[in-house]
């Protein structure tokens, strides 16, 4: 259950729209059901009152949209940013991907978003209504007479279970209370895989990555993947194969993508959220983050604007690639 209410957000959006501070509002739009929320650009107070939603399913990270949307308008656009979204926001600013002057950022607190797949795992298909009430979520289905009560914390999205920060690192205005950077267990899963034998690791990733359908959703939702022309879309690159032709293709795609965002990935978790095949793509990104932290010192992409990403930086005393394994083997 979110602490800040829909009404608070609407009031803010409408007042900023009406006093002319902003021209448009990037917010969450109402769907067919209570959980299918669509990122929407609102232009008027009426549109906002009718279509704006704020609930436990507003997971979409808007930072990425600013690249395209700020180019299209004259004035400012209002964007609501959850704490984790602000990291992506900063990272894009660091890379000069949009004009800060054209954005009015309102930070909003987030108590963690629910994962509809987890809800359905408990309640089954046929959900007709979802009501968030305190720590409980009431799910009404077509097949049960009484609503099913689910603990909100049991259906939290993976990225929210392992939330890294409730603190906003960028905003023009903050609604609600500011949180703190959280000491999360987000690298535990990575460590677990690292502890496997190479054969087990290979089997694990083979099972996960073989499901890839190359829909590019991970790439297209990623706030770090904002290249004007992706190498995987370029027919001259030789890798624009569109289909997971065999086990090489699907590994190649994900290795290259993860590597390209290594050091820039803020671990917002959009890739895993959008994957239609539930591939835990965040485990690839987190591996890079974990390695970078271990090799070159703690680094959180997006924590501050203008910081230099570790892979485009160096020191003369860096660890040798070969030592990486020696160190790990001695630690193990």
């Amino acid at each position: 259950m979110q602490k800040i209410t829909r009404e608070q957000l609407i009031d803010k959006a409408v007042s900023l729209l009406e006093n002319g501070t902003v021209e448009a509002v990037l917010g969450w739009g109402k769907g067919e059901f209570d959980y299918d929320v669509t990122p929407t650009v609102f232009k008027t107070a009426d549109e906002i009152n009718a279509g704006f939603v704020w609930n436990d399913f507003c997971g979409a990270n808007f930072s990425r949209y600013l690249v395209a949307k700020t180019g299209k308008i004259e004035g400012k656009i209002l964007v609501f940013l959850k704490p984790c979204d602000t990291y992506s926001f900063n990272q894009l600013l660091t890379e000069h991907r949009f004009d800060r002057e054209k954005v009015y950022a309102v930070g909003i607190p987030c108590e963690g978003m629910a994962d509809i797949a987890k809800v359905k795992a408990v309640c089954g298909e046929g959900i007709s209504a979802i009501n968030c009430d305190g720590e409980k979520i009431a799910v009404t289905t077509l097949y049960d007479d009484e609503p099913i009560m689910v603990d909100a914390k049991d259906v939290l999205a993976e990225r929210c279970v392992n939330c890294k920060s409730k603190k906003h690192v960028a905003y023009d205005e903050l609604l609600g209370e500011e949180g703190e950077v959280v000491d999360s267990a987000r690298f535990d899963e990575v460590a677990k895989i690292e502890a496997m034998t190479p054969d087990e690791r290979f089997a694990f990733w083979q099972n996960e990555l073989s499901r890839c359908i190359r829909c590019n959703a991970c790439r297209d939702a990623c706030p770090a993947c904002t290249c004007e022309k992706c190498v995987f879309d370029n027919p001259n690159s030789g890798v624009e194969n569109k289909a997971p032709a065999n086990s090489f293709e699907e590994k190649m795609f994900h290795i290259i993508r993860a590597f390209h965002v290594a050091g820039r990935c803020t671990d917002c978790g959009e890739c895993s959220r959008v994957c239609p095949q539930n591939i835990p793509l965040h485990l690839l990104n987190r591996k890079f983050i974990k390695d970078i932290n271990e090799f070159y010192g703690e680094y959180q992409a997006g924590a501050e604007v203008g910081s230099r990403a570790p892979l485009v930086d160096y020191t003369t005393g860096d660890i040798e690639p070969g030592e990486v394994f020696d160190r790990r083997d001695t630690n193990a």
């Binding site: 769907g31 067919e32 059901f33 299918d36 929320v37 669509t38 990122p39 929407t40 650009v41 979409a60 949209y65 797949a117 795992a121 089954g124 298909e125 046929g126 959900i127 007709s128 077509l142 097949y143 099972n207 499901r211 359908i213 190359r214 829909c215 590019n216 959703a217 790439r219 297209d220 939702a221 879309d233 027919p235 624009e240 194969n241 569109k242 289909a243 997971p244 032709a245 959220r273 959008v274 239609p276 095949q277 539930n278």
Partner: protein
């Protein structure tokens, strides 16, 4: 109509698998279902449907079309077609069965696509009636009855029994092999189930969705609708909807140089991709709005115009469940069609 007990379904699978490769929906480690080659130990999934549609069996995401050997200035073409293995797909839902008809009209129209045609000829479809449709289901909008699935054999599953009805020659032939495992029965139990399902169908949130306002001849009317801009404004341009869709049939033909020869293969493509219509001299669908519009106009206007009013959507709800931004054909139909609710 014939029936067997639910416990003996496994023996039915074993019998079918003796003569042909059998695929059934089975649960994966992450909880979602996928068509899996049956072997002893593979359990029939209780999930409503698979993430990927069964169009894979006839129109795989990727298939080799032919090979070339080149030497100096000469080229040798090697015909590698070999789709001759008999297979049975068990547990196809009514919506997905209908999708084969939509694909047939594309691939089996002149000139016939021999790759697809061969797979169709060698495949037997055993459908499965739905008992617990999801809120995302809207097959009834397109006149599909989930209680009465088509296919070579229709199957109904109750708590204790499984009922079979063969609809085609292929189905009759397959049922003959199952004679010893099944017994003749009346349609009573099935009729009761059908009634139950039709009651559920009326309660579905999308039960009132209609295709009114769409269909052949509506191009002029709908193409310049300002709502396309609004609907597509946050579309990411990924291919999720296309790749989980049972009726999307666009493909790309590409060459892969193995170093020892060239493989020409075909793979799914998506009209949502920026590169889809890009030519050396430009692109006729420059923005996501145009690409987005193309996908839905094709399903709801262009396809019906060429195919006697048959819509190129079966209401399976996969895109509703999987779109990263929850933008989907239902929202488009309600907004553009305008006559709904």
């Amino acid at each position: 109509m014939r029936k067997c007990s639910l416990e003996s379904l496994n023996s039915v699978f074993a019998e079918i698998a003796k003569a042909a490769t059998l695929y059934i929906p089975a649960d994966r480690t992450d909880g979602s279902a996928v068509y899996t080659k049956w072997e002893e130990g593979v359990v029939y999934s209780n999930a409503l449907n698979t993430v990927r549609s069964p169009k894979d069996f006839f129109f795989p995401q990727m298939e080799n079309l032919m090979e070339f050997k080149t030497q100096g200035k000469t080229i040798e073409i090697i015909d590698t077609r070999s789709e001759t293995e008999d297979f049975v797909v068990f547990g196809v839902r009514a919506c997905d069965v209908k999708s084969f008809e939509i694909l047939d009209r594309v691939f089996l129209s002149e000139p016939v696509d021999s790759y697809y045609a061969a797979r169709r000829a060698h495949g037997v479809i055993v459908s499965m009636a739905c008992t617990r449709p999801s809120e995302t289901c809207f097959c009834q909008t397109f006149g599909i009855n989930p209680a009465e699935p088509a296919g070579d054999i229709s199957v109904w599953k109750t708590e204790t029994e499984v009922f079979f009805k063969s609809n085609t020659e292929k189905g009759v032939a397959l049922m003959q092999k199952l004679e010893a495992l099944t017994e003749e029965c009346t349609e009573e139990a099935v009729d009761a189930q059908k009634e139950k399902i039709s009651a559920v169908m009326k309660k579905l949130p999308l039960a009132n969705l209609t295709t009114e306002g769409f269909g052949g001849g509506k191009t002029k009317e709908l193409f310049d609708n300002p709502a396309w801009e609004e609907l597509s404004q946050t579309c990411l341009g990924c291919g999720t909807c296309t790749f989980v869709c049972p009726t999307c049939q666009c493909y790309d033909i590409k060459d892969f140089n193995t170093g020892k020869g060239v493989i020409r293969y075909r793979c799914w493509d998506s009209c949502m991709y920026s590169e889809f219509t890009r030519m050396a001299h430009g692109n006729n669908r420059l923005t996501q709005k145009e690409r987005f519009r193309q996908r839905f106009m094709h399903k709801l206007v262009y396809y019906p115009e060429n195919n006697d009013g048959l819509f190129s959507c079966v209401g399976c709800g996969r895109c509703l469940a999987k779109c990263p931004i929850s933008m989907n054909i239902v929202k488009v139909m309600k907004k553009i069609g305008g006559s709904n609710e």
